[in-house]
Symmetry: D2
Subunit: 338 residues, 4 copies
């Protein structure tokens, strides 16, 4: 049983069925009937008018969102362990034509409003220094923590008062909302988020994420994003297969059910590894202290996962699991502890 990454898991059957249903002739690019339903489906989900584009990967979604919010000479405030900063080979720099990432430390890979404000205060308002133009946060964070609606809103308030765009990388948005138990609008547009990268692939999709634009400027930004999408070679010619994945997720509650399942599995593991936890377990990732010997012992039992530096490991659960299915690893962890 592997706990490498939610990417390593197969496609969720409901998603695959939806793709099969879209396997028929229709207009190319995003001129098809599935793509046409995206705005409505996401508007219903978020309880507000949203404009939505499908896109193949989270890296592209994040980067295009940032290109809509930040000019080449601007800066994007993010955590220094943010995926956009450390795992996208500089994609934001590519799409924004050289904008700067202004990285900040923060517990559990979370940005705090105070840290952001302090960073902003240090920028001289002359042409020599890069002006901040956007904030980007990850929900759930790179350490599996969920920003609460209040936490997001506090950052949103800073963004608004400083005239910054506000982007949320929601690669594991479903897991965060499943944990928070809130309405998805509560941690996005109601809290000031302008653009959300809504994750689908890690949550059971094959190759589709959604760029969701909120607010008065949604349509204008989405129109510009559509240009970036084409220009970046991301306007797939058979877009219906991407749209179908997203609709399968959000026209019902599949996205949330899958998120809950993965979270439940993570909680079950956490219960077996309570004293080892480096971060609280709120989504579907566990970061635990684990010696090399213990790691070897678990692997000998057929469990696999990534080491996380010296003496630690990262375990990722996914939509196809639940508390029961991961119980063997939970037990093995508990046994180690003894």
């Amino acid at each position: 049983m592997h706990f490498f990454s939610d990417n390593a898991t197969p496609v969720c059957p409901d998603v695959m069925v939806a793709m099969m249903a879209a396997d028929r002739a229709d207009h190319g690019y995003d001129g098809d009937q599935w793509s046409a339903r995206l705005n409505g489906a996401f508007s219903d989900l978020f309880g507000t008018s949203a404009t939505v584009l499908w896109i193949a990967t989270g890296t592209a979604a994040n980067s295009i969102a940032l290109a809509c919010l930040c000019p080449p000479y601007g800066g994007i405030i993010c955590h220094d362990e943010a995926h956009i900063a450390v795992d996208e080979c500089g994609a934001p720099g590519f799409y924004t034509h050289g904008a700067s990432l202004m990285t900040l430390p923060g517990q559990g890979a979370k940005l705090s409003p105070d840290a952001v404000t302090e960073r902003l205060r240090a920028i001289r308002p002359d042409v020599h220094q890069v002006p901040a133009r956007a904030i980007s946060i990850t929900q759930a964070t790179e350490y599996g923590l969920a920003y609460t609606p209040d936490e997001v809103a506090a950052l949103g308030a800073v963004a608004q008062s400083e005239g910054l765009g506000f982007h949320m990388d929601g690669a594991r948005f479903a897991n965060a909302v499943a944990h928070l138990g809130c309405h998805p609008g509560d941690v996005t547009w109601r809290a000031g988020v302008d653009i959300l990268s809504f994750g689908c692939v890690k949550n059971g999709g094959m190759i589709a994420e959604a760029l969701v634009f909120f607010g008065d400027r949604a349509e204008g930004r989405a129109a510009e994003a559509a240009r970036w999408r084409k220009r970046a070679g991301h306007l797939s010619s058979k877009g219906r297969y991407l749209a179908a994945q997203l609709l399968a997720m959000v026209e019902g509650d599949l996205w949330l059910r899958n998120g809950r399942a993965a979270n439940a599995a993570a909680r079950a593991l956490a219960a077996g590894a309570e004293r080892r936890l480096i971060h609280p377990v709120e989504a579907n990732e566990l970061f635990i202290r684990l010696t090399a010997g213990e790691a070897a012992a678990l692997r000998a039992q057929g469990f696999d996962f990534h080491d996380w530096g010296e003496g630690a490991a990262r375990l990722v659960t996914n939509w196809s699991q639940d508390a029961a299915s991961v119980q063997p690893l939970a037990d093995a962890l508990r046994a180690l502890a003894a």
Copy 2:
């Protein structure tokens, strides 16, 4: 019955089956067993050692290829109706960071060695002018013509003697090879092509094209292309679904069978529209003279297609058709002519 575009057609069942077979847990990105088979499969197909990357779209494949061959201050010689020049929203400019397209006219959307040479002669070798660094051709061309091995080799010779990279946009490569009846190596690496965008989507795939690197510099360029692919957000996290589509095409002869089927359909239509042809029909596209009244008459009979300016139309056939299945349109065309 529609003849809009090969993109409007469903996925070929053999490809879909291959994707289903890849629907299991494996390593993410391109660390999976399907991706690992690409180099071998394409090397076998082309009869030479090739290095291969999957990528979601032809636009991305073309642009990354060009970024490997041309610096930002360089120029890329292509036809003035090339897809890269007129239908990719400036994607080559994005990926190459501003390289110039040097467009040339030419019968049937083909570049001629003489025109290329003349264009090169007109460039002063100083820093004020953009130096040409690459040639890009489309196989089959935007007007459905196939470059013969000799024609490609003549351009390849110019590229080599002038120190230019040589790229082939093979969105309809299968149709070209099916028409030529040659070995796929004859119109690529043996003729001097450095990088081929091997089309799969128009030929029955869902969302996957192949970037095929030939020659001594193949590995180095592919390594750089892998950086661009990641940086552009094109490194899908479940790459096995893309690799599987390509393998389904090239581990057998599906790619060629599909190309032949589409070509046969096009020839059948051409036989019914002989006097209307604006260009010879060699691949799966027909460009025909057709008055507005004639177009309306055909549409009234249930055939649909794109107008091509005033008094002309474009008909595209696809892998799911053959001579028999398009006979009704062939007959309708012939009837018009009477």
Copy 3:
């Protein structure tokens, strides 16, 4: 006596004196008292409120202007022999992050409104094609012709009705205005020009051109241009030496006097070469038919100039000349003709 280029000539003494006068301690960058006078001096000259930035070269001025008017995915309509298209090593592509130049033919290197309109009509309004966003013309043109106020206004009207920005490369603006005898506002803001690259170097300066922003959006665009200027390394730390050159030109009528002198010299040469002229002589450039033997004969007499392809030559006069000083070449040309 050389007629290579106005760039080969020394700095005009009045400009040099002004630079000496600025050779004292003051604030760095553009915080000095000379830079502070630019907006006023140019507003007076053009008879409207203008916002002005000094910049070292015409290439940088042109490119920054275009970056203010055109997004990376947009297109800039210009003549196919425009300096920005053929003599700036792709600088517009660099500054605009890959925007496309949409080049058009036209007599005497002039764009015509009809040609522009026809080009615009050919662009499909979808995301696959690059949308035009700006028009750029050269005043005087690369063949030494001056657009009349009416001609500029006709292009300005197209720009306005199509929502395009309108840039004028005025490397030889003084020569054009000297020829036209009009108010400088008549061929710029009154005719719809948004941004003018006001040439100073060819007209007797050392290293300074002016970017002049007109209209309602002047301040906003100039503020953005100031970012580009810094980001491109063009914010000289001792900007007063650049500002002083521009002020020397425009606080009096030096710019126009210099332009008139060069034009008078050109007219004198033209009188000696009447039957040889390839283009009418309106500014300070002559393009003449001249055999290799004739060219050699002139060079043997001590005159030098650039060949212009086979059987032709380009002669450029400059601010330091006048009709009398170039009479020897005029005579020599006339003698050849005999």
Copy 4:
């Protein structure tokens, strides 16, 4: 008497005289006789074959150097207070097309080999992370410290063993060498530096810096840099005025004399402010503790300078000063201390 910046000072008379001497007709761009002497003059100065380009500003010099050493997907290791990181409005991101600055802390704005090595160790060698490709240091540093030959060589050794390019921002190179008393080659090419931005403007020039390329790859890189220079609009059409400034500096020992003068002035001030020094004074900058009241007292006596955050100030001396000329401020500082 002001101590704002070395940029606020007039041009050194010897430089101005040299510019006057170049004020005659010659070939444009860098085809003139002054530009032709640069390689030789700098090769003599550094005791090795060097290839040299003039360029208007330090920001442009630094950025073009980095573009020669680092691809868009690469990273440049520098100090987190480096000029390229905090005072160039993202220029390196513009010229490198989005490369990442990898900033590190370090005493006195110096990078240490250990910190660099540790940073390199933390980068995974996969396509997800940005690979480091260059190191950039400032000589003297932003806090006025000079890297010794050994310190540079230690970083050079890291660069070499890791395959990184090595750039030195020498905006105050003269001051550093004047302090070190070493041969200029000892802190550059002999210590592994590939490209030096040789400062001239702060040291008495008007508008010219030198990009100096060392080593086997010097010519190839300089040829590429010449493309960037043109493409960025930095190829001034009357380049002889820039070349002349540089030659005035380095064909004799003006560069060093000027650096020594500024340093002597700084040492004199330091002697008056010994207990206030935040950093040792090695070049021409002092960073001192100074209360708001003390600052006001000095300003009341006619001395001016920049505050440096709360309770501190920065004083910059320049080529036109010496120990005697700044004695009044030294005395005033000493008086304060009492």
